[in-house]
Amino acid sequence: MNTGKKKLNMWLVLTLGILALFLIFVVFPIGLILYKSILMEDGSISFSYFTKFFSKKFYWSTLINSFKVTIASTFVSAVLGLIMAYLLRSIKIKGSKFLNILIVISYLSPPFIGAYAWVQLLGRNGFITRIINTLFHTQFSGIYGFAGIVLVFSLQSFPLVYMYVSGALKNLDNSLNEAAESLGCSVVQRVWRVIVPLITPTLLASSLLVFMRVFSDFGTPMLIGEGYKTFPVLLYSQFMGEVSTDDHYAAALCVIVIVITLVLFFLQKFIGNRLTYSMSALKPMESQKASGLRNVLAHGFVYMVTLVAVLPQITVISTSFMETRGASYTGKFTLENYKNILMPKNVTTITNTYLFGLAAILLVVILGVLISYLTVRKKSFLTSILDTLTMFPYIIPGSVLGISFLYAFNKKPLLLSGTAIIIIISLCIRRMPYTIRSSTAIIGQISPSIEEAAISLGATERKSFIKVTVPMMMAGVLSGAIMSWITLISELSSSIILYTSKTQTLTVAIYAEVIRSNFGNAAAYSTILTVTSILSLLLFFKVSGNNDISV
């Protein structure tokens, strides 16, 4: 588009500015990690940190453990998510809207809260454990280690697969189903031979998200893993450990994580691209009333899974009103926990969470809209670099980002560690790829001729962007922003590394209280977080006007 050199410059300046931001806050910290991982203390370059990792079983076994729990939980999540999505889309389930909201809520709380709640239920001294042991006179000692981690992760992550697959099923034209049926396919064959192949790319993409989330989460294995040490736990203890910390070794561990997620990302892209079909449903699948045993089984399954998935939330909310003595409950109702956390001394925790979240959202939305506009409408060599660069945080786990930020911004002129800014920026960068992707999709639906029309009617490029493009994007961007907000306020893995006593957020506080066995306070904090999430979710439904959620 040639509308004068002066106007082109505006976009160029923006591109360069955003590029500079990403160079400082993504490329520089990650580059530093790479450099640190091969820099010895005497200043020479060597791979000895990597050799150290792979030569001691104490170290490399954590990687094996991580793969075991991640593969197991991803598999269970994918199966559960697929079945739940198919059942809810194909069979009329009573109260399905409500169930849908419950499933989303169970996903929106941070995984470690699930871990801590399940310890309350099925731990050594848990409610359910005690009931089992009294009823059956057994010596069941609770689920910890592998089983516990997989339980928590699966229940926490299947909603993600569920949401993605449910969206894909909605785009699946029912006539495909009917065609298969008319050609003599049974129900099971239909699912297996028509539906599953068509939604495989979606299933893969969402499974990858689950995989990366589970692989890099350290809160859950920390709380419920006991002796079962996973890679993020090792990483965290190497970096934050009370006994000894080794920056360079931690950097090497970060590099290993990045390489693994990078490989997975490209693998998923490669397989996904080969299997993608473009579909648009003229006649979407409609849920039908099932009868007899099928109906009972479907209802039973869906309600069971949903109930188990929200059980941690129920536990947390109810224990928040229970009196505690040390780490155990007395069984009496109390508001003491709320009094403890809402007393003046600690209120900043809550305000911090809201402020950081809002600031990050504002930044993410403005930058996200600009970046996606630049990469879609102002294609050039620079914007394609921007496109790649802004997607990069997608594959960087939160803890790695947190560590790299601490390395990069702990001295002048970029002394940011300990400030609120560093937390806001890290939240912003973690969320950026998602916002850009959704904004890009929204812009893709706006025909370029709409802007050309505005320009032909005498508007400048800036004016047509502000008056025409932005308002048209607003509804989609706003609902995306609400979802981002919910994910950001429950972020733990980078905040836990970057926080100081002044910049503590809700999730960090919950984690700290759980570690200190102050379960009452933890429950009260968690309840505040959950209630905020639920209210935001309701707002999302109101703004977006539908029940479809993409995260």
Binding site: N2, S449, E452, A453, I455, S456, L457, G458, A459, M472
Partner: protein, 366 residues
């Protein structure tokens, strides 16, 4: 107040591809001018060069004598109607139409007056305060037209504005566009690949192919006296048959197709004997059932369409021929019948063997 558009030797490149290489064209003030051609012929590219969405790599475009190459689109004062209408979905009908006026800092009262005026002209004044999303294609088209005209542009540009409408609405809208254009009197450049539409609305048509203009003429001449084989087959239907120009003396030319010889009186003097392409439209044949004079063909099938009857025939070389006759009371000619076809020598066209030049003398016209 109407202005002329002069396009002089313009060049358009996309990367290394040269799409238009030195094209020239003059559009008269107030004219309804159409760029017609198959998709990919460069017609939309040229239109977007005029409005300024495409840069100009060589040559110049003048509006009213002024070179506009370096004027940004938003200062060119041209109205454009887009293929997909490009109605702003978040603005009411009135706000859509007022958008351009607001950019021109027109006063509120003036805007209201002008918007009401134009709404009446395009006959959608009852939709003034509606949001556009629920309106029909034809109504959206009228908004787009009103929005482009209301700013009193020097030039009105339309890029396939009717291609998203259904057949009936298309006919209705093309009449409306033509009528409104005449009423407002703006120099208009119209892009389409639909030849019937082009013939119906245009004062003059430029037929384009491969970035090159094949012919510029009135609809009637384009149809009846195409400049080359491309135009004769792209506009309407033509049966192209190999023939021979046997002699050309004193304004009497002998043309032969197979064993069928006929005389033509409008072949250019300078054309000498040799092989030619004869282009005959389906309605320019005369079916000869009595004698053996004419091109021998066998009837393969026929379709009765009320007003006319179409015959699909085959020559003995295996070439397909289509003939259209006014329907009469006689029975259709049965399939498999051998008949002979004569031609209306005044109407048919003769081209050089490579199809690039017309042999027809049009009394001074190219």
């Amino acid at each position: 107040m109407s202005v002329a558009i002069n396009i002089e030797n313009v060049v358009k490149r996309f990367g290394k591809d040269t799409v238009i290489n030195g094209l020239s064209l003059d559009i008269k003030p107030g004219e309804f001018f159409t760029l017609l051609g198959p998709s990919g012929c460069g017609k939309t590219t040229l239109l977007r060069m005029i409005i300024g969405f495409n840069s100009i790599e060589g040559g110049q475009i003048k509006i009213d004598g002024k070179v506009i190459n370096d004027i940004p689109t938003n200062k060119r004062n041209m109205g454009m109607v887009f293929q997909n209408y490009a109605i702003f979905p978040h603005m009411s009908v009135k706000d859509n139409i007022a958008f351009g006026l607001k950019n021109r800092k027109v006063s509120k009262e003036e805007i209201n007056k002008k918007v009401d005026e134009i709404l009446k002209i395009v006959k959608i004044d009852h939709l003034k305060d509606r949001m556009p999303q629920k309106l029909s294609g034809g109504q959206q088209q009228r908004i787009a037209l009103a929005r482009a005209i209301v700013i009193h542009p020097e030039v009105l540009l339309m890029d396939e504005p009717l291609s998203n409408l259904d057949a009936k609405l298309r006919t209705e809208m093309r009449n409306a566009i033509k009528q409104i254009q005449q009423q407002v009197g703006i120099t208009t450049v119209y892009v389409t690949h639909d030849q019937e539409e082009a013939l119906a609305v245009s004062d003059r048509i430029a037929v384009m192919n491969g970035g090159v203009i094949q012919q510029i003429d009135t609809p009637k001449h384009i149809y009846q006296r195409p400049a080359n084989i491309f135009v004769s087959t792209f506009i309407g239907l033509s049966n192209v048959i190999n023939g021979v120009l046997e002699s050309n003396d004193n304004g009497k030319a002998q043309v032969r197709i197979g064993d069928y010889r006929f005389t033509m009186s409008n072949i250019k003097k300078e054309c000498t004997q040799g092989p030619v392409k004869v282009s005959i439209r389906p309605e320019e044949f005369i079916i000869n059932k009595e004698t053996k004079e004419g091109i021998p063909v066998v009837v393969k099938s026929s379709v009765f369409l009320g007003v006319a009857t179409h015959y699909f025939l085959e020559t003995k070389d295996g070439q397909d021929i289509e003939v259209i006759q006014d329907s009469d009371l006689e029975e259709l000619i049965p399939n498999g019948t051998l008949i002979h076809l004569k031609v209306q020598t005044q109407k048919i066209n003769v081209f050089s063997e490579d199809g690039s030049r017309s042999y027809i003398d049009r009394g001074g016209r190219a």
